[in-house]
């Protein structure tokens, strides 16, 4: 009996302890919600701050939330306060769906969902049209959803994986001295074995057919810490280039394995999700020369918006994460993702009334008619970070400018000019895949007249 009491007391103490340990820091977010009367725009934030992908998911989430705080600190969206709530998904599809259901009706209705997971995007693509909430998948998601006539509610803004793969092949061709030099070259794709990693395969196969290079596909099981056999095959095949489609621990593991097998890092090219600080930091000097795509932006410690966040959010003790992370690659990606959502709302307000709360449907119109020219971007503090982006009914991507950056051993530095994906290659593939989806789902693509509404 005594033992039982002790055990009970101990477990209670443990629970209490876990509370006190987890309690601190973020005491500010909710307290402000009490001020009523102000119009509010609710942004659900699906994040993963735990689990194997947390090192990459956390900076993204911090950037996202910090931007919303920055918007509020500078007067809101034309006076409308941006509210938000986080929900932890752990990069699992079923928890993402649960979070989606939990948040979609909160705070007067969700404006737009950004799941930061291609698997979750696939599941939510089926749900969003029913609930009339747009899905913003900036730099991820399903590639064919760039066709907004079929995928009315999906917005793969800035770029899809087909864009990424296309640009990588262009960059390699440039290095080799022309597309005709690619013939007979061996290119290996090392990819995360999930919808995310498989997205680029159709485009690479298409390009392989066009230029006659030899494509081999090496899947890595999630989360990607076990890659010995993969790199053994690379050592045997000696490919000319390795494309890395990894996320989280998979990237740093791949770089360590490349070092162990002696594969030159200069010949490794990562997607924009495999090109951030957490991927290379642990490897440090050994990752020197490794290249990755930059989804327009890279690490931007000197951008105006970064300084604004430091001054107006972190400077007031309201920063979400550590201060030194502000301006890092994934932090900027989250920040830009939030900005795109906010700008969509702003654009919608121009049509439906300034200073009002936008519904998901109205925000969708805003996102579809997004027109951020250089002047607007400069005013927002994104000068040098981003290029203009303009969406339309048929083009939900808005822009496909990509650069390559290279790890110098201590920081990411741009190492190429701007590239743009080849529309002649991608557009037919998008149309074909989206038409197939429309047929499967019995969706009638919107006509240009319906688009104008």
């Amino acid at each position: 009996m005594k033992l039982r009491n002790y055990a009970l007391a101990a477990s209670l103490a443990a629970i209490g302890l876990s509370f006190t340990l987890t309690a601190p820091v973020h005491a500010q977010a909710k307290g402000k919600q009490a001020q009523a009367q102000v119009a509010e725009q609710f942004f659900p934030v699906l994040v993963y701050r735990t689990g194997p992908f947390a090192p990459n998911g956390t900076p993204w989430a911090n950037g996202f939330v910090d931007y919303l705080k920055l918007v509020n600190a500078t007067g809101g969206i034309n006076g409308v306060k941006a509210t938000f709530e986080e929900c932890e998904t752990g990069y699992a599809t079923d928890r993402s769906v649960e979070c989606y259901e939990r948040l979609k009706n909160k705070g007067g209705g969700a404006t737009a969902f950004q799941s930061l997971s291609t698997g979750a995007t696939f599941a939510l693509t089926e749900k969003a049209p029913v609930d009339k909430i747009p899905l913003i998948t900036a730099g991820y998601g399903r590639s064919e959803s760039a066709n907004g006539a079929v995928f009315t509610w999906n917005f793969p803004l800035l770029g899809t994986y087909w864009v990424g793969a296309d640009v990588l092949i262009q960059h390699i061709a440039k290095k080799e001295g022309g597309f005709d030099k690619l013939k007979g070259k061996k290119i290996t794709l090392v990819y995360h074995d999930s919808p995310y990693g498989k997205e680029p395969i159709p485009l690479l196969q298409e390009r392989a057919k066009m230029h006659g290079f030899d494509l081999s596909l090496l899947p890595v099981a999630s989360p990607g810490v076990e890659q010995k056999s993969t790199w053994l095959q690379i050592r045997q095949n000696k490919p000319d280039y390795v494309l890395l489609w990894g996320w989280g621990v998979m990237n740093s593991t791949a770089l360590k394995e490349a070092q162990a097998t002696g594969y030159p890092r200069e010949k490794m090219y990562g997607i924009w999700w495999a090109g951030a600080e957490p991927d290379v930091k642990d490897v440090g000097e050994a990752a020197k020369g490794y290249n990755a795509l930059a989804l327009q932006h890279g690490a931007e410690p000197n951008a105006k918006v970064t300084k604004d966040v430091l001054a107006l959010v972190h400077g007031k003790g309201q920063g979400t994460g550590p201060k030194d992370e502000v301006g890092s690659v994934l932090y900027m990606r989250g920040l830009i993702s939030a900005m795109l959502g906010i700008e969509g709302v702003k654009r919608a307000q121009e049509r439906y009334g300034k200073g009002k709360t936008m519904t998901g449907e109205q925000a969708r119109w805003g996102l579809e008619n997004l027109d951020l020219d250089q002047k607007k971007l400069d005013a927002l503090g994104f000068a040098g970070v981003m290029r203009p982006i303009q969406t339309s009914c048929l083009d939900h991507m808005g822009s496909s400018w990509v650069r390559v950056h290279t790890w110098s051993g201590s920081k990411w530095e741009f190492s190429s000019d701007w590239y743009q994906a080849d529309e002649k290659v991608i557009r037919p593939m998008v149309m074909l895949a989206s038409a197939r989806y429309a047929e499967e789902k019995k969706i009638t693509p919107r006509t240009p007249e319906q688009c104008k509404q």
């Binding site: 509370f19 986080e86 259901e101 599941a123 089926e126 789902k441 019995k442």
Partner: protein
């Protein structure tokens, strides 16, 4: 006082053999069913349906399947997720490749495919037992994970390995809204639970239990181990296959093999262990514990924090959720190793004596 069967005389074999011989139990079950079919759709909101009730119903069905095999026949399996995947992908292929295939037809055919696969992967059970069998069934998990990721035919040549279905309907009625989906899952679950209960009360269930308790003795009294074990695998996989189909079609709508990973197999095994091995009721308790509790904790903690005026960070909530959940599993296993179902039957025993215990 209330829960006593005094005065309820049984005058026929049928009355003696019914599922719930006690009148109060029959009323309670009828009440629960009426509540689930009528009251819940009236009052539950969309979040409750889509995020909690539908997953709970489907995973209860899967847990039932695992319980038939692990709890009743004593064959430990770690391939449950694979059989769910087989059911889901088979149903998907039937619906995509056969014109005019009705939803129920596809789900049942998916279940039968899973049953056939289950029999094949159940063959090692004739030679190996216990933990060794668990390892052998892992083969099913890895094989089917691999197959659905690599063999494009199974996913109808989808570029990313993710498949999706929509526009579900049943005899012309659409299954689109959360309420419709909930009622559909509930109806399937009720039918299957009745089936499972009757199977376990009949000759075949007794054979399974005999094999579970001592297979040599069972063989001596004339039970064919091959027939008993493989039938358990078949029935269990059938349940799992149908559950997998529902999970993909009704709950997710679009899924990839990761939805049926090894984690799912473990989750199902934990459900039956925590809920109660060899108990139909236990499958429901286990599913409720594993599905609902983490989500409940995840929402309770910020609310509790709000009460005392602190905001807990998202990561903090997530960590605390895992810690408390783990602690509760240990707690239940120590307090009642036979699962929550045993706690339930102890409670019923106590209720019979209430309010005058000896």
């Amino acid at each position: 006082m209330i829960y006593r069967e005094n005065g309820q005389f049984k005058t026929s074999y049928a009355a003696d053999q019914q599922i719930f011989p006690i009148l109060q139990d029959r009323w309670a079950i009828l009440g629960i069913l009426a509540f689930a079919f009528v009251a819940v759709p009236l009052f539950a909101d969309e979040y409750l349906f889509r995020a909690i009730l539908i997953p709970f119903l489907i995973l209860s069905l899967a847990a039932l399947g695992v319980n038939l095999l692990v709890g009743y026949c004593g064959q430990i399996t770690l391939g449950a997720g694979a059989f769910m995947a087989v059911g889901a992908y088979a149903a998907f292929n039937f619906i995509v490749r056969v014109d005019g295939m009705p939803l129920v037809g596809a789900l049942l055919l998916g279940g039968f495919t899973a049953a056939a696969v289950g029999v094949v992967f159940g063959v090692p059970s004739l030679r190996v037992r216990g933990l060794y069998l668990a390892v052998a069934t892992l083969a099913a998990q890895f094989f089917w994970d691999w197959a659905f990721l690599r063999i494009k035919w199974f996913t109808n040549d989808s570029s990313s390995g993710s498949v999706s279905v929509s526009n579900l309907s049943l005899f012309g009625f659409p299954i689109e809204s959360p309420t419709e989906k909930y009622l559909f899952c509930l109806a399937v679950l009720v039918v299957f639970a009745l089936l499972a209960k009757n199977l376990t009360r009949g000759a075949i269930g007794r054979q399974w239990m005999a094999i579970r308790d001592m297979d040599v003795a069972a063989e001596v009294i004339g039970i064919r181990p091959m027939y008993a074990k493989l039938s358990a695998f078949a029935v269990s996989s059938f349940f799992l296959g149908v559950a997998g189909g529902l999970w993909g079609f009704v709950h997710l709508g679009s899924w990839e093999p990761a939805a049926f990973s090894l984690d799912r197999s473990f989750q199902l095994l934990f459900m039956v262990i925590i809920g109660g091995l060899g108990s139909i009721m236990g499958s429901f308790f286990g599913a409720a514990f594993i599905v609902i509790l983490p989500i409940f904790l995840n929402q309770l903690l910020p609310w509790l924090g709000g009460l005392v005026g602190v905001t807990i960070s998202t990561a903090g909530v997530s960590h605390a959720e895992i810690m408390i959940f783990g602690a509760l599993i240990v707690f239940f296993l120590i307090v009642e190793p036979h699962g929550i179902a045993r706690l339930w039957s102890t409670a019923k025993e106590k209720l019979r004596l209430w309010p005058f215990p000896h």
